[in-house]
């Protein structure tokens, strides 16, 4: 099956590019995309590398042809210009050639698009993300009579100590939040995305998941992901939404199913306590090891 072949290719590409580091957030002097944490993102990374196999040679071809004409046909080398102004064959070739290249790009592109927008039949967790100027609100579906809902603000620098988030490598400036969205690993998570009715458009983005969808007042958009390894992932609002557009990050904590269930039950009564307990649990060294094994 084509899809499986892509998955295998994607895995190979990931092995090639994997640096082994914890890469769910941007890294200094990065030139490539963030490490994939979902199947869709593996596919995006594979497709991006695939397109480079076409566009880099095309750009180099143009560059080389330019250099050739500059050297071969400079006035000092070629004082008498030719009078050629037509060649039907070559014109047909450089019309048909790009069409073929585009076909080669289009087939995996359409597969990727279809996979992204085709929701899995079984949804395990549904979270509604509502954007307001300038924070996110996450509401969990089906958790008792009053569903769990909380705001997620960017972590302010003075609040680091109280939140136990002093480690800037784990909780970077402008990316860390007070309350992360928590989801279980290996489960199909659907995110319903909207903005407050009288607010402006925002956009929910999670680069490591290959997810980006606008949060539009009066509309309910949806996206989905299935995170394949545990960890803390960061994204940022991706539609200009006013003064604090740069300051409403999105943080998703992917944990084991057990940890998720414990957190969900505890968060219903005391979110702060539940978050602290979860942080204590995931920061244990054993858990980190498991995450690294999964990444390989």
């Amino acid at each position: 099956m084509i899809k499986r072949a892509y998955a295998a290719l994607a895995a190979m590409i990931c092995l090639l590019f994997a640096t082994g580091s914890y890469a769910d957030q941007p890294r200094p002097w990065e030139t490539g995309m963030q490490q994939a944490a979902t199947g869709n993102m593996h596919q995006i990374r594979w497709f991006e590398a695939y397109t480079l196999w076409f566009i880099i040679p095309i750009t180099l071809l143009v560059l080389i042809l330019l250099l050739v004409v500059m050297v071969k046909f400079r006035a000092s080398k070629n004082p008498v210009p030719s009078k050629t102004s037509h060649n039907t064959l070559i014109e047909v070739i450089w019309t048909i050639g790009p069409v073929l290249i585009l076909l080669f790009l289009a087939i995996p592109s359409f597969n990727l698009l279809t996979d992204q927008l085709t929701f899995p039949e079984k949804i395990d967790v549904t979270v509604k993300a509502t954007a307001t100027q300038w924070q996110w609100n996450y509401e969990y579906e089906g958790s008792g009579t009053s569903p769990l809902a909380f705001d997620s603000f960017m972590l302010k620098e003075p609040d680091r100590a109280a939140a136990g988030k002093e480690d800037k490598s784990k909780y970077p400036r402008l990316l860390a939040v007070d309350n992360e969205m928590v989801v279980p690993v290996g489960k199909n998570v659907r995110v319903l995305v909207t903005a407050a009715p009288t607010d402006v458009i925002h956009s929910f983005a999670m680069p490591a998941f290959g997810v980006r969808i606008d949060a539009i007042p009066g509309r309910l958009n949806e996206t989905w992901f299935n995170a394949d390894r545990e960890g803390l992932y960061y994204g940022q609002c991706s539609e200009l939404c006013g003064k604090d557009h740069s300051f409403m990050p999105i943080a998703i904590r992917v944990v084991s199913d057990d940890q998720y269930k414990q957190w969900l039950a505890a968060a219903a009564t005391d979110l702060n306590k539940a978050n602290k307990a979860l942080m204590a649990a995931v920061d244990q060294p054993t858990t980190v090891k498991v995450a690294e094994n999964t990444a390989k």
């Binding site: 490539g32 397109t51 210009p81 014109e91 509309r219 003064k243």
Partner: protein
């Protein structure tokens, strides 16, 4: 450069016409000529002066943006806000954030509507198209490619601007008079605005680049001393780009929640545009192939244009794929892409055309050495600004951010330094202009030789107030 005897006779006629014209122009007061202009060349000149002023303002706005982004944190705009509004402390930071957004938007609007469009359409097109049209024998298929490009651009403007006019009128009434065309609380839809905006906005990007295509064709042909390769293909490639450009608008909206089928269609339609664009790039190279190339300043800018526009074009092919755009949408990758086709595409075309037609429009020759320095410094500068932005976008840095996570600091610093290099390049542009007007080197009717075949090169430099008292004949 004199050709046949007939050509000499022709020049003689023109000389007479010029003499007569001087007499005529002499009677015109400064106010009559420049405030109540009715002459296409004077109007073109005014547009070019306007574009230069606006371009400097738009450029300074971008330098302010790059200064702010040179390192993490908010430094420049908080200071600006306290200077302009007298804010201090947190109010200055908040005011700075607001000002930053204003600067970003103003930079875009000024560069598009007050710099590129006035320079290409108001300036060069007003100047050169009337000289090249409606002569006896000038049929559609003999029309120079620049005239073709402006004809197509005019259709794009005609069909797209009314849609923008409708959209912004509705925004105006929404914001001031209580209507709710785009406000969901009154049954409106914010996405309707995006569809209307991009129905204008996508043809607009071809409005910005098509005249550039035309000008580059003239320059490549002139300095290769060869007729343009595949003339009809070049003309109809522009027609195709213009036509298909109208049916690809929602590729700007892949992440707004469009249905799968809608996204599939727009992926397909968008990729189609790569075909006529490829025809143009390859035809330019084929024009040079076998030519006798002179590396005058306009030609160097044109060569830079072809390479950098290709680079911006291929990242456009990547972004056309909705599945990949999902990851790169609204990141600096998009900023890099559209600056490669506009800042390094359209603007390089404008500078190429400036050096190409400067001797014709002013009668003075620019200094080749200054023009070369202008090119190379600008080339290094703008590539330093925009190439690293591909990396920032791939790593996930969103557009229109006043502050960014510290991991993005490295490439942002490089990008900002590039902006200062480009500023030095701009100084060379002005030095070149001042030098030409001070030194007053006489350019002559046609400084480019037999490769320059369009009609403006048969006129004196600058052309008489009323040219073609005896109509040229197109064979």
């Amino acid at each position: 450069m004199a050709g046949s005897k007939a050509h000499d006779d022709h020049s003689h006629d023109l000389h007479d016409a010029h003499a007569h014209d001087d007499h005529h122009a002499h009677k015109q007061s400064f106010a009559d000529r420049w405030l109540f202009s009715t002459n296409h060349k004077d109007i073109g000149t005014l547009y070019l002066i306007f574009a230069i002023f606006a371009g400097v303002i738009g450029f300074l706005l971008s330098v302010a943006i790059r200064m702010e982004l040179q390192e993490p944190g908010i430094q420049i705009f908080s200071g600006l806000a306290s200077m302009v509004y007298g804010f201090s402390g947190d109010a200055a930071i908040d005011g700075g954030k607001q000002m930053y957004n204003v600067f970003v938007t103003a930079h875009a609007l000024i560069m598009i509507f007050f710099m590129v469009m006035p320079a290409m359409i108001g300036g060069f097109a007003n100047w050169m198209v009337p000289i090249n049209m409606r002569a006896p024998g000038m049929t559609l298929h003999k029309m120079p490619l620049f005239a073709w490009s402006v004809l197509i651009t005019a259709f794009l403007l005609l069909l797209s601007l009314p849609v923008l006019a409708g959209a912004i009128t509705m925004v105006l009434t929404d914001r001031n008079f209580g209507t709710t065309f785009f406000a969901p609380e009154g049954g409106g839809d914010p996405l309707l605005y995006q569809h209307l905006f991009w129905f204008f906005g996508h043809p607009e990007v071809y409005i910005l680049i098509l005249p550039g295509f035309g000008m580059i064709s003239h320059i490549i042909s002139t300095f290769s001393r060869k007729p343009i390769f595949g003339y009809l293909g070049m003309a109809y490639a522009m027609v195709a780009i213009g036509a298909v450009g109208f049916v690809v608008w929602a590729h700007h909206m892949y992440v707004t929640g469009l249905s799968l089928d809608t996204q599939r269609y727009f992926v397909f339609a968008t990729m189609v545009i790569a075909v006529p664009t490829g025809v143009k790039v390859f035809s330019w190279i084929a024009t040079m192939w076998g030519g006798s190339i002179q590396f005058r300043t306009p030609m160097i800018w044109a060569l830079g244009f072809i390479f950098l526009f290709t680079l911006g074009g291929v990242t456009g092919v990547q972004l056309a794929n909705a599945g990949l755009d999902r990851e790169l949408h609204a990141t600096y990758f998009v900023v890099a892409h559209f600056h490669y086709v506009l800042s390094l595409g359209a603007v390089f075309a404008i500078f190429a055309a400036w050096y190409y037609w400067f001797p014709k429009m002013t009668g003075y020759m620019y200094n080749e050495r200054i023009g070369n320095w202008h090119f190379w410094i600008t080339f290094v500068g703008v590539n330093m600004v925009f190439f690293p932005q591909h990396f920032l976008g791939r790593a996930g840095m969103p557009r229109r951010y006043i502050d960014y996570p510290d991991a993005y600091a490295g490439w942002n610093f490089v990008s900002s330094i590039g902006s200062y290099v480009a500023a030095v390049g701009l100084c060379f542009f002005f030095w070149g202009v001042i030098d030409a007007f001070v030194k007053k080197r006489v350019a002559g009717n046609n400084p480019w030789g037999d490769g320059a075949t369009t009609l403006e090169w048969q006129l004196s430099s600058p052309p008489p107030h009323h040219q073609w008292e005896e109509l040229p004949r197109i064979k």
